[in-house]
């Protein structure tokens, strides 16, 4: 299992393995949705698809779809997917062995890096009224539900905003 929200979900309800597995799988559904968008960018088959699939996560998808052409998108996907896969699992191992010795990464603002990167990726897409409306609606929806639903669900609801907007606006 290489998809953070699902891992956290499974661990956080560890006393009820069935509920944990169910919520982990439910949270993983957004990766299937990411795949819909990635298929045309990656154009992978066979064994490469099997490998690519495991690397389909929030970060690699964001870096792939944030590029202006498919070539850059592929580079973004593979570089991000492999980098996160290696360091995520390495860090998980280190954490399991004893995280007490590590300083607090928040002291140097590391947690601000991801939103800043996403802001830079989103900005070029906000041309015209529709993307602005969708962006604001999705952000507001995600924020409003975050305190009440498991990790990953706000993202799914934000995706619903895009689907509804896409179905409603024939151009």
């Amino acid at each position: 299992m290489f998809t953070g929200a699902s891992q956290f979900a499974l661990v956080s309800v560890a006393d009820n393995p069935v509920a944990g597995a169910a919520s982990a799988i439910m949270l993983g559904t957004r990766n299937a949705m990411y795949g819909l968008r990635l298929t045309s960018i990656l154009r992978v088959r066979g064994a490469r698809k099997a490998v690519a699939a495991q690397l389909v996560i929030d970060e690699s998808t964001a870096m792939a779809i944030g590029q202006s052409n498919d070539d850059d998108g592929r580079v973004g996907f593979w570089a991000t997917g492999i980098a996160v896969f290696v360091f995520w699992n390495l860090a998980t191992l280190i954490g399991a062995l004893g995280a007490d010795a590590i300083g607090n990464p928040e002291d140097f603002g590391l947690d601000a890096a991801a939103p800043a990167a996403f802001i830079a990726l989103l900005a070029p897409r906000l041309r015209g009224r529709e993307p602005w409306v969708v962006a604001i609606a999705a952000g507001v929806v995600a924020l409003m539900v975050t305190p009440f639903v498991p990790d990953g669900v706000p993202i799914l609801l934000a995706a619903v905003v895009a689907v509804v907007a896409g179905l409603r606006s024939p151009r």
Binding site: M1, K49, A112
Partner: protein
């Protein structure tokens, strides 16, 4: 417990494969294409909102909000990608150090 881990792992992986396996003619549908264009906008915006305004799943104004503000300014000033990220990190760290 191990059955739950293995079952959930398999399920999560198969979902990823399924997403990459949808045939091209469905993707060519104009509605799917429109949704495909709007999905990244909605997802990126939701990520930004959540990572900026929530801490441990609760709404909270943290030093990250300052970082995000600096990032928006930097993007508006057409700063390079790395500069945007480093400026946001620096601003967030500075606010934490002063607080």
């Amino acid at each position: 417990m191990w059955a739950a881990i293995l079952g959930a792992s398999l399920g999560c992986y198969l979902l990823k494969v399924a997403g990459l396996s949808v045939p091209g003619r469905i993707l060519a549908d104009p509605r799917v294409e429109r949704i495909g264009g709007l999905l990244p906008v909605a997802l990126l915006s939701a990520f930004i909102a959540m990572q900026t305004f929530t801490v441990d799943d609760q709404l909270e104004l943290s030093a990250r909000v300052v970082g995000a503000g600096v990032a928006v300014f930097a993007v508006w000033r057409r700063a390079p990608f790395l500069v945007v990220i480093l400026a946001a990190m620096g601003a967030t760290a500075l606010v934490r150090a002063l607080a």
